[in-house]
């Protein structure tokens, strides 16, 4: 009998808890307000192109969150063409399904400024990602490129060492993109503090791997004792690394670059010694920052263009020595996950 009584008591306790718990939750106004502010809101990502690791990573993390809170997530693929991007933004603003939040990866400082202003006037929050632009967006989420350049220069100096030739070569991107210009400024800031280190050449790759290979070949030809090369993007640093390999200077030239921390693009190449150091963006965290600011803006009730927030992603120069299993994210795994759904 005692056993049955205990059992009944336990069942009653359980039932009471089960009834009471939802009552408590219903008292919390958070979830309801959250759902009301966010449900059905549209978020659109317009990157430089959808075909590269950064954009695919952002899209993955954003989509997961936006759809989880009942929003609609879309992307547009300008495929590196500035006009196509402008067209996509224009269409988005004037369509019936105008996005509530527009996330823009600007190709340069000025191209989309007018369009972004129009978007804000129409009531769309504008978030700039990765590349800064001459425009007071509601938020900027991305790298502080100046700081990133400083980290690259510090990694290069460390990679060279005290007893080296102290000659550094740069492979810049171009002379229009803010990421390239600010990166250069950051590198020079650090090198100014180390006057014994010299930049011996600073050609542009135009973000193209073949050009990067050709200019690096010439650079190494002219200065075979270069101890480090900083290439401004892992997308074309494969060219610089090919030139180093061809000149049989593997292991002698410390190649520094920057990228989105994708496994095949960055970590695998640190592992096999192609790159000496990569200043990697923590993409999951950067996407998380975007998600947070999207949620904030949509609940804030403030008109678009009211406030301007800068959220810089924490950057870190990673070398082979401090590679960890979770240093990179894996695009293949994300794609497999998406395909499985």
């Amino acid at each position: 009998m005692k056993f049955i009584r205990t059992l009944m008591a336990a069942a009653t306790a359980l039932a009471v808890t089960a009834f009471v718990a939802p009552t408590f939750a219903a008292d919390d106004p958070g979830p309801a307000a959250y759902a009301q502010a966010l449900k059905g809101k549209r978020v659109m990502l317009v990157p430089l192109a959808m075909g590269f690791d950064l954009a695919q990573g952002w899209a993955h993390y954003l989509k997961t969150e936006v759809e989880a809170w009942g929003g609609v997530f879309e992307t547009r693929d300008p495929n590196w063409v500035v006009d196509a991007g402008a067209q996509a933004i224009t269409d988005a603003i004037s369509s019936d399904t105008r996005p509530d939040v527009l996330i823009i990866h600007a190709p340069d400082l000025n191209s989309y400024s007018k369009l972004m202003k129009k978007a804000q006037a129409a009531g769309t929050y504008v978030i700039l990602v990765d590349n800064p632009a001459n425009f007071p967006a509601d938020a900027f989420v991305g790298s502080d490129w100046d700081r990133l350049g400083q980290l690259e220069a510090e990694a290069a100096i460390k990679g060279c060492g005290e007893n080296s030739s102290k000659k550094i070569g740069l492979v810049q991107g171009d002379q229009a993109n803010s990421s390239s210009l600010y990166q250069y400024a950051g590198i020079m800031k650090v090198l100014d503090k180390h006057p014994d280190f010299k930049v011996v050449a600073k050609p542009d790759s135009n973000w193209d791997a073949t050009t990067s290979r050709n200019v690096t070949t010439t650079m190494l030809q002219q200065n075979p004792d270069i101890c480090s090369i900083i290439d401004f993007w892992d997308g074309d640093a494969t060219g610089a690394s090919a030139a180093i390999r061809d000149a049989k200077l593997d292991g002698k030239v410390f190649l520094v670059t920057t990228g989105g921390g994708e496994k095949a693009a960055d970590c695998d190449k640190l592992q096999d010694g192609t790159y000496g150091a990569v200043v990697m963006t923590d993409l999951a965290r950067q996407s998380g920052d975007m998600n947070a600011i999207i949620k904030f803006l949509l609940q804030s009730g403030q008109p678009a263009g009211t406030s301007h927030t800068y959220i810089y992603t924490l950057e870190k120069a990673t070398t082979k020595a401090d590679l960890k299993p979770d240093s990179c994210w894996d695009l293949k795994a994300l794609q497999a996950e998406a395909a499985a759904k």
Partner: protein
């Protein structure tokens, strides 16, 4: 007569002018730039224009036959990207290559068919097929702009191949240039290309198979693009399809045209491609050594091209025939 002293300027054509500019640049760079004349640097120059030169050979044959192939870069990048994608997803090598080769030849055939039998101007046909190839492969067959070469694959090994310390691309370029020279100079079909390019109607009237030959030229150009793509992937261990958006296509036309292959067809040969490639190679290398920013490099490149065209226009005024037919 003018046997000693000043050369006869009247006999100078664009090829001669460009060759002269190239020689002057070469001598100036050799004197003024330390390390320019170094054997390794000279190899690097040739190598830097090898892929460009190979593509220009294909383009030259098409242009001589009074056509143009604007799909070359798309075929080059997308065929190899698809090939590597197939390999990365586990397709057997032989089968993957067969697919890609079939695809490349099909696009060449389509180009040729539309130009030769449907009488659509080459510039529109190839512009359209180029966009189609890029769009289809990029959206349906590959997942990313950059596709890596699988570890240890023959394409990767090809990139490391050296003879006498000279990269393989240089030999492939030289070999193809020689083959194209033999084809254009000594084969019947090669000679016919000039007739067809110079005056297609007359060529047809004397019984030359103008249309099948047209198809052949576009297939040839597509095939050459595949070779150029494989060499690019071999050197970089990956192929980035972004190259389709770059100025590479214009550089190819530039190499052919600056060397003196007239866009009106029927003129020029392999030598013109070599001269054009040499000028571009020397120019880019010297400007990189001097560390001129890319913006100015493009400006200088464009100015030299413009200069060569103007001088050519003055020395070789357009004749009645070109005036009537017009360029493409």
């Amino acid at each position: 007569m003018n046997t000693i002293g000043w050369p006869n300027f009247r006999s100078l054509n664009q090829e001669g002018i460009v060759f002269a500019i190239a020689v002057v640049l070469f001598v100036a760079a050799a004197i003024g730039l330390p390390g320019f004349i170094d054997a390794n640097n000279l190899v690097a120059i040739v190598r830097s224009v090898s892929v460009l030169g190979i593509l220009a050979l294909g383009m030259a044959v098409v242009i001589i036959g009074r056509g143009i192939d604007l799909s070359a870069v798309a075929i080059m990048a997308m065929s190899v990207a698809w090939y590597l994608q197939l390999l990365n997803s586990g397709t057997p090598d032989g089968l993957a290559f067969a697919y890609v080769l079939a695809g490349v030849l099909a696009v060449g055939l389509l180009n040729g068919f539309l130009v030769a039998y449907a009488d659509v101007p080459a510039i529109f046909v190839t512009l359209a097929t180029g966009s189609f190839v890029f769009g289809y492969v990029r959206s349906q067959l590959i997942t990313q702009d950059a596709v890596p070469v699988p570890q240890g694959h023959w394409v990767e090994l090809l990139g490391g191949l050296r003879f006498l310390d000279i990269p393989i691309e240089v030999f492939v370029f030289a070999g193809l240039a020689f083959l194209f020279f033999l084809f254009l100079r000594y084969t019947k079909w090669g000679r016919y290309i000039y007739f067809a390019g110079d005056n297609p109607v007359a060529a047809r009237n004397i019984g030359i198979p103008v249309r099948p030959m047209l198809v052949l030229r576009y297939v040839l150009s597509a095939f050459v693009a595949l070779i150029a793509g494989l060499l690019t992937a071999a050197s970089l261990h990956s192929i980035n399809t972004r190259v389709v958006n770059s100025t590479l296509l214009y550089d190819i036309v530039l190499v052919a045209v600056i060397g003196g292959i007239g866009l009106s067809g029927g003129r020029g040969g392999v030598r013109n491609v070599l001269v054009g490639a040499a000028l571009i190679g020397i120019l880019l290398n010297a400007m990189t050594i001097i560390d001129i920013p890319l913006l100015y490099q493009n400006l200088i490149k464009a100015a030299i091209l413009l200069g060569a065209i103007i001088v050519d226009g003055i020395i070789n005024p357009r004749d009645e025939q070109t005036a009537q037919q017009g360029d493409i």
